[in-house]
């Protein structure tokens, strides 16, 4: 099944984008040009934002973190996620940082700020953590919800 997230990514560039991402990961380069608030592709945690008629949905991909160790704040339409992930215990008891062959998973403190559409209502937020994905449902302000307009026949 085609993922709706792909519709906003031009198919022609998808393969190049993937290649770029893989090269960036190998050399641990971030993009040299980024948003001043830190929204750089490849930052942790990755995020998807979508919307329905009456809410904005935010998906943070934060596997292996205790939900209580994630700090979320929403100030007007600025959403901040901060926290820490330690991947060392995943390698087993008594693991040391120099016993790795590969260490690609994010380890350490993170903080990301994303701008949401202006229509979000900071008073109507709900957060749920399921299988490593943190799902935020943020209601839209009443007067900014899209409405279906009925056309009456005269």
């Amino acid at each position: 099944m085609m993922s709706p997230w792909l519709e906003i990514i031009d198919p022609l560039w998808r393969d190049f984008d993937r290649l770029k991402q893989e090269i960036e990961r190998v050399y641990e380069f971030g993009s040299p040009v980024g948003n001043i608030r830190g929204v750089v592709k490849g930052a942790f945690p990755p995020v998807n934002v979508g919307e329905t008629t009456d809410s904005v949905m935010v998906y943070f991909f934060v596997p292996g973190i205790e939900p209580s160790k994630i700090d979320l704040t929403l100030e007007r339409n600025q959403l901040t996620i901060a926290g820490e992930r330690d991947t060392l215990p995943d390698a087993g008891e008594g693991a040391t940082p120099n016993g790795y062959y590969r260490r690609e998973r994010f380890c350490g403190k993170f903080r990301r700020v994303i701008s949401l559409p202006e229509s979000v209502d900071p008073g109507k937020v709900e957060a749920r953590y399921t299988n490593g994905i943190l799902v935020l449902t943020i209601g839209k302000k009443e007067d900014e919800k899209s409405r279906k307009i009925e056309v009456s026949v005269s």
Binding site: I9, D15, G50, A91, G94, G99, Y101, R103, F106
Partner: protein
């Protein structure tokens, strides 16, 4: 001969024309940690959204393949505004050396993190050699 070659090209083209449809949704490459201790190799992979049911770990000859598909956490009818995760499938493969015991791989999945333990074969585990006094 020329005809054969032509038909061969035609088949090749046909395959090529099909390829984009097949790879329309390229699976994501999950980031992994690979750690070795005395007993074996510990592999951890970030696969957010995958549950035990959506996971497939296969060892074919010496190739270990990890596949996962996201449970329906993200509804399909949502209108996307910004996306860094463009797929719902994960896939990654590794070759295993002859020194591991592929029959005794243990797998567990929790909070979107897959953990695999690939034990070393009995005969390659490090042994402490006792030195006897002469």
């Amino acid at each position: 001969m020329a005809e054969n070659r032509e038909s061969g090209i035609a088949v090749g083209r046909g395959e090529r024309a099909e390829a984009p449809a097949k790879s329309a949704v390229r699976p994501l490459l999950p980031p992994v940690d690979v750690y070795e201790n005395d007993d074996g190799i510990v592999l951890s992979a970030d696969m957010p959204g995958v549950t035990k049911e959506g996971l497939e770990v296969v060892v074919d000859k010496n190739v270990l393949t990890i596949k996962g598909s996201m449970a329906d956490i993200i509804p399909h009818d949502i209108k996307p505004l910004y996306a860094e995760f463009g797929a719902r499938e994960y896939e990654r493969a590794f070759t295993l050396g002859p020194d591991v015991d592929a029959h005794r791989i243990e797998a567990s999945m929790s909070a979107g993190v897959l953990k695999l333990f690939i034990p070393k074969s009995e005969d390659v585990r490090p042994r402490k050699i006792e030195v006897k006094a002469g």
